[in-house]
Amino acid sequence: MAFSDEQLERYSRHIILKEIGPRGQRKLMDGKVLIIGAGGLGSPAAMYLAAAGVGEIGLADADTVDLSNLQRQIIHTTADLGKPKVESARETMLEINPEVRVDVHQTLVTADNIMDLVEKYDFILDGTDNFPAKFLINDACVLARKPLSHAGIIRFQGQLTTYAPGRGPCYRCIFVEPPPPEAVPTCRQAGVVGAMAGVIGCLQALEAVKYLAGTGALLTGWLLTYDAMTMDFRKIKIPSRKNCAVCGENPTILKPFDYQAAVCDL
């Protein structure tokens, strides 16, 4: 596939890079990424992946744009209030880059639909804000053998890791089970600084870009944490767990299932 003159110019800063080049850019243009959650993390990730020319980007989110979202969910604007987030996000992405295809799924991700959702994508990006969804997405990605960027943010802190099938630990190797619903506050109760979503969401986009272009080292086997109050980035080595219930030697989770959502999330 030859680049058009417009593509050469649009993607020139990628093509110039030795680590991406024409070949890597073509891989990005052939790539398919699913972003679950068009919120704080999903916003910058979706915008950068669209700008990068990732061929097909799926968005899954059931919500509509709310005024309290706009402090951090930068893909949506004040004019989008009340719109489905996936539609609002799609419009912004196509304004940035009309070349990409954006598939929208205005739905909650559940055990019933997640395997079908992830199936056609090369890389999954978790931008959800609750533990039941994060465990569900992890289990589905392990079962479907899909690489996954996990991330979470709260207050002035963020974390992320990348699961790659057969190459390292999954989210459940690290955290095993969701915490009891009342034990951990959500962003709704605890707050989160808006730019934290930008930092961590952009790091997720970078993991997707490196994976698709086939360059660099992923955060597979590592948990990266960031504390904006002290400006400490820490990279913590994470071993695989042989007895992990989903990716271990004798898995007991053979299909995805839903955890009960916390009462405050309903």
Partner: protein
């Protein structure tokens, strides 16, 4: 630079005088990537900035710069052998 007589005949040619840096390098890089390993590409460049930047950038990527031909019209043909991915 090598004299005109020693330069091998190119296997491909692109004109990069219609663009400015860094698009000159982008065009050259994409054209070179489409050639077989060992193939020689002739790249027409304007004198000045493109002539300073493009050969250096190609060398940085491991490509083999063979020489320059002066077209006597303010442009040069840069001959490069594809030696790297």
């Amino acid at each position: 630079m090598s004299s005109k007589a020693k330069l091998p005949p190119p296997d491909g040619f692109i004109d990069a005088t219609d663009v400015v840096c860094p698009m000159t390098f982008v065009k050259a890089k994409v054209a070179l990537e489409e050639m077989d390993m060992g193939g020689v590409l002739s790249i027409r460049l304007n004198e000045g900035e493109p002539l300073q930047n493009v050969p250096r950038s190609l060398k940085d990527e491991g490509q083999q710069v063979l020489g320059l031909q002066n077209n006597e019209d303010g442009t040069y043909n840069l001959l490069v052998r594809r030696a790297a991915e």
